[in-house]
Symmetry: C2
């Protein structure tokens, strides 16, 4: 056990060392001209200001939730929660810091050569990737090591605690499971705030900049005369870098801890013949006490192997000398990362006393994740039929364009859902819910690579913006646009991957919840959740309906947050142009700071209600209506969230890329009817794909992990049915 955690800690340190080195290397590059430094300064300042404001709001929530955990359970649980949330916050800041250093430096490097620019951008992105992986695994290893007494196989048992000493208010749980769940819940809560706040910020700024800039004044994107330009670029950093990193960190941690929690429950319930059957599926038998650490910590070994694989792949990409075929290098690097991850997993499985079931489940997860990514690409890339047909439909006007875009999004649910359904069935057949958790783990084990590649996209986007704003030579913008274009393809696959991994991570967390909820007093069962039977009545069906509904209400709140914030911003931009005609003529700079402040204010203020909804609903449903109803609620929310997230992500992606396809000169090109329709459709799709879709990924994971954490508090049969 010491050896395993030590290895995990060592590899985490290596990952963080890479982050530090890459940040240092990027910071030493030349940020370019005076004007470029100025713009970069604005972006950096805005991003820091927003994330600090966000952090203040988060700190209050985190303090309260931690205090509640302390009061209800033990101080260790609260500490684990704070460690998880602290590290997730740190990952966001580290990534954002590197990204806002790398943007102008990428632009400057693009003045020399494309490969130089790629190196800077990718190094900047890899800071976030390695920080996410390193902090998540290192923190988890630390928490388990600190509270190792609670994982001791000799004394592992189901605790009974009387809440606030109220007679009869006894709750039962495995303390170690509670500690790792709290760690994950802390990371989740931060991820939700980051993703929702950042998502509102980035799209409100983008929408307002486009509405006044492109539509009303017909000035190009990233024009320095537009007061919202800088805010738009800040948004890329806080939303796409900070938000995405937090999102994948959460999936990553959730996948690891759900496998650990299920393993702990299986171990404690090893006396039960059903559970012995389950252990046999993993090749474990009477020696389970000896093999305990392998069984419980194999998930950590898998992701540790994943980090090493990603470090090698990143080094390959970073130090590759090829000038041409950049996309090829990125794809090869990702493939290398995935293969090495699988190789390490095979090695660890072979070393362990377990059979290869966890490994097969993990491979199933990796393959499913990649397949879902490719389906997303098919539906959203202009290289394929759906997006080209959509571009053609733009010729019939905005209404038909939006309608057809929605149809593309709905249609795109077909394959991802079939893949998830088949993977769930196959994994369960292999090894019950634990194998489902391993499938999730497999999908996420090379997260370091995914985050690095995804974070590189917004850096390229920012670099392109800075090139235009600093009025550099058009050849620079061409090179940065090329970076941006490559980023878009990898981002499309990455987004599909994020949805798929969120679905699996949530399934894993729900599975862990079911195991926790099935354990009462000193006995543990294999979970058996009814949809309908005389004991639960219609409660679970009601839970399903309410769960499905909550995701819609959450989405509505987010869309509104974006459009209301954008509206305030639009008023401000119009006011600036009206009050100071010198802005339009280019003689004076607009007041960028005011726009940044307005968006930041909107983002922080409007992230609170949806976040509290996500935090509060599982507690409300669980406490009032019991464990089974909450299981229904989570499944209903998962179903609804998967569908909406796929629909929003792919509809928005297709609308965006179909517009770009028109801009490339098809169906009349820029300035045509089709282009005007495309701009409207893209604006409709933007909050769907960048705010709603990604936030739904987190919503469902957060609600699941909160349910897992507080599972023991929820009654089996609700009070009014006794």
């Amino acid at each position: 056990m010491g050896l395993m955690l030590g290895a995990a800690a060592l590899v985490s340190v290596a990952a963080l060392a890479w982050s530090a080195y890459a940040t240092y290397w990027v910071a030493r590059r030349d940020p370019g001209t005076e004007r470029m430094r100025e713009i970069q300064g604005y972006i950096r300042e805005g991003a820091w200001a927003f994330m600090l404001a966000e952090a203040r709001v988060m700190a209050i929530t985190l303090a309260v939730v931690g205090a509640v955990l302390w009061a209800l359970f033990y101080w260790e649980v609260a500490v684990a929660f704070w460690v998880g949330s602290g590290l997730a916050m740190a990952a966001g800041f580290i990534g954002m810091n590197a990204a806002t250093l790398a943007n102008a430096r990428t632009t400057h490097a693009a003045r020399t050569s494309f490969k130089q620019a790629l190196n800077v951008a990718f190094s900047g992105g890899s800071v976030m990737g390695m920080a996410v992986a390193g902090l998540a695994v290192g923190g988890l290893a630390l928490v388990i090591w600190l509270f190792r007494r609670e994982f001791d196989p000799g004394i592992l048992y189901i605790h009974t605690k009387t809440i606030f000493g109220i007679p009869g208010a006894d709750v039962n749980f495995i303390k170690g499971a509670l500690i790792v769940s709290a760690y994950s819940a802390g990371a989740s809560l931060v991820a939700l705030f980051d993703r929702v706040g950042g998502g509102i910020y980035t799209k409100a700024a983008d929408m307002a900049a486009d509405l006044v800039g492109k539509v009303e004044l017909k000035i190009p994107e990233d024009d320095p005369r537009n007061p919202a330009t800088i805010a738009d670029n800040v948004g890329d950093n806080v939303g796409d870098v900070g938000g995405l990193g937090a999102d994948l960190l959460e999936s990553f941690v959730g996948a690891v801890i759900s496998a650990i929690v299920i393993s702990l429950y299986i171990y404690v319930g090893r006396g039960n013949p059903d559970i012995q059957g389950l252990l046999a599926k993993f090749g474990l038998g009477e020696n389970i006490t000896q093999d305990f650490w392998w069984f419980a910590l194999l998930p950590i070994l898998y992701v540790t192997g994943g980090i090493v694989a990603c470090l090698i792949a990143i080094a390959y990409i970073r130090f590759s000398r090829r000038e041409q075929g950049t996309q090829g290098i990125l794809m090869n690097g990702t493939r290398l990362g995935a293969l090495l991850t699988a190789g390490f997993a095979a090695l660890f499985t072979w070393l362990s006393p377990l059979n290869f079931v966890p490994f097969y489940a993990a491979i199933l997860g990796i393959v499913s994740g990649i397949a879902i990514g490719f389906v997303s690409e098919y539906y959203t890339s202009s290289r394929y039929k759906p997006t080209r047909d959509l571009a053609k439909a733009y010729q019939s006007g905005a209404a038909v364009g939006v309608t057809e875009g929605m149809a593309v999004g709905m249609m795109s649910a077909l394959w991802p859902c079939l893949i998830i359904a088949v993977a769930t069935v196959v994994a369960y057949q292999m090894g019950g819910l634990l194998a489902v958790a391993y499938a999730a783990l497999g999908m996420l084990s090379f997260v370091g690579m995914t985050v690095s590649v995804d974070s590189y996209g917004p850096i390229g986007d920012n670099a392109a913006g800075i090139a235009t704003m600093a009025k550099l030579d058009p050849s620079v913008r061409e090179r940065t646009d090329q970076l941006d274009a490559i980023g878009n393809t990898t981002a499309a696959i990455g987004k599909g991957f994020a949805i798929g991994s969120a679905a699996f991570a949530a399934l894993g967390l729900i599975a862990a919840y079911l195991w926790s909820a099935a354990g009462r007093a000193d006995e543990v069962h294999v979970p058996d959740i009814p949809i309908i039977n005389p004991t639960v009545g219609g409660m679970v069906v009601a839970g399903l309906i309410v769960g499905a509904m909550v995701t819609y209400v959450f989405s509505a709140l987010l869309i509104r947050a974006v459009s209301r914030t954008a509206d305030v911003m639009v008023q401000e931009i119009r006011r600036q142009f009206r009050d100071n005609p010198k802005i339009m003529s280019g003689e004076e700079s607009p007041d960028y700071r005011r726009c940044i402040t307005i968006t930041a204010h909107g983002g922080v203020r409007r992230m609170v209600l949806p976040s509290l909804l996500a935090l509060g609903m599982p507690l409300f449903v669980g406490l009032l209506f019991g464990r089974y109803t909450l299981a229904g609620f989570l499944v209903g929310a998962l179903l609804s969230a998967i569908m909406l997230a796929i629909y929003c992500g792919n509809a928005g992606g297709a609308m965006d890329n179909a517009k770009k396809y028109v801009e490339e000169g098809h169906f009349g090109g820029k300035g045509s009817e089709a282009h005007a329709a495309g701009v409207i459709a893209d604006t409709v799709g933007d909050p769907l794909k960048d705010t709603v879709g990604p936030s739904l990924d987190i919503l469902i994971k957060l609600m699941s992990v909160i349910s897992l954490l507080f599972a023991s508090l929820f009654p089996v049969i609700p009070f009014f049915m006794r």
Copy 2:
């Protein structure tokens, strides 16, 4: 039993007599000027031609499905199926026939007085209302009476049949339950074709007429120069009258037969102690064999009472002498209908040996249905905040308008879902799934009234169109617009009601499916469906995911069908204007017939794929993956369909009414930026609210009733898990 069925048959005949009388009365009114007769002739001809073309496609499907039922089960099952489908088709034709007679006559009556016009329009609508109720109940009574041997309480038992004589291919079912299920499935299949075909027709015509007329040529709605005008009016009749009637007929039949099927299974399983407990909840005990007919046929008595109540309410509205406060008369009439329905239900319950549980459940259903209707009205009427805020958002352009409209639709899921969830729990607590079926029944028992009021709307809409096309005095259009406006409010409530009732009817049918699926060999259990346990593994979760996905794919197919058909139509309209400039100057009439043919062709051709999907998926899932997976599939589809239907219906309704609110002179009125945005948003919302939403209502009912019908064929454990 003879007395009960006799009473039902008698009341049905009375309802049909009203339909006949009202048709005769309407036909005797004066259809107005030469021009009006001509327009009406076109509309009538187009509507007949389309519904006949639809009927031909349906006939093939119905013949095949009936033959399959005959081959698999018994000839009685096939006959019941054909009776159900034949009557549903007849109801559509009767309603459409009356509506296409009433439109021009309403316009003509509006030249005299508003009250006259209302009388004609409402009489025309009541034909459909009473035809739906009369045919549905009369047909059911006929089928039960014809095959009364299969309902004989002395010999009622679980049949075992060996499919095609294949050894081991034994299936078990109650023959009577199979017969009424087949009756309902026949009606459902026709309803799906009517709704999908009509929905595609009406919106493709509407969209094309608006895209070329309002947007490109800036000519007003219903302008006779627009070649698509008549097709648009035909669409109102085949979509809104024929489609809606078929939809509610299906809900109505489904609700009645699900209560009957569950009662039959409970009766057969009366030896089981759990089921004795359930019977006790309904006040029934050892005398169940004597009380059998009361227990099994109470649902029919409830709806028979409902028809009498509706006849009284319709007579009240029709013969009311008040000239003013028309909306008041309609509302009072609906209230009267609901109250009398409740009164009759109370009377029959009191006469029966059962306690008042079925009555309370039915009242719960009525109250829930009305509440959901009011929520829909709140979110879609311009008298309330959401739609007014949306109209305000139109000022920021089309993109913000569509986005905010989607947010309104998503938000509007909140209350309906809570209402459905609470009603499900309360009903189940009262009397298990049978009480859930009774709640559905209550909601639908005054369907005659709902259909009458809803069908009156499109007649008013048509009348307004004819007034413009025939260039009558503006005062006539004012009166018909008033009719139309009242129709819109009642239609909003009606649409919410249709969604709510579809959700409940589907729940009832799923409940009946669960009871059928739980019965094996000669034993019947109280249904107990797991979400996850070692027996079903991840199958049910996979079923939930796939079910949720199918509704999205179905919706995508429908949206595409509309926009592709509209696209062909747009080309045709443009061609006519281009080839013949005399159309625009008004010297020559456009070629209306060609547009009608194109839309009809598109509607019929494109309704096939979604309909086969709806028919085939439950069979595919059930046969391959077994009963439990199919239960998951149905629940997943229900969840997804409820959400999408509410979202589509209310988003579309709010976008439409917000546009009308702008047209009334707010935020700049007609011709303003806000109005242009509103027109686009309305066009996006149209296929959502009039094609997708309503078709989803049917999709879920059809899939549930098909599952119920074929339940016995599906394995308990799928072949690959044995």
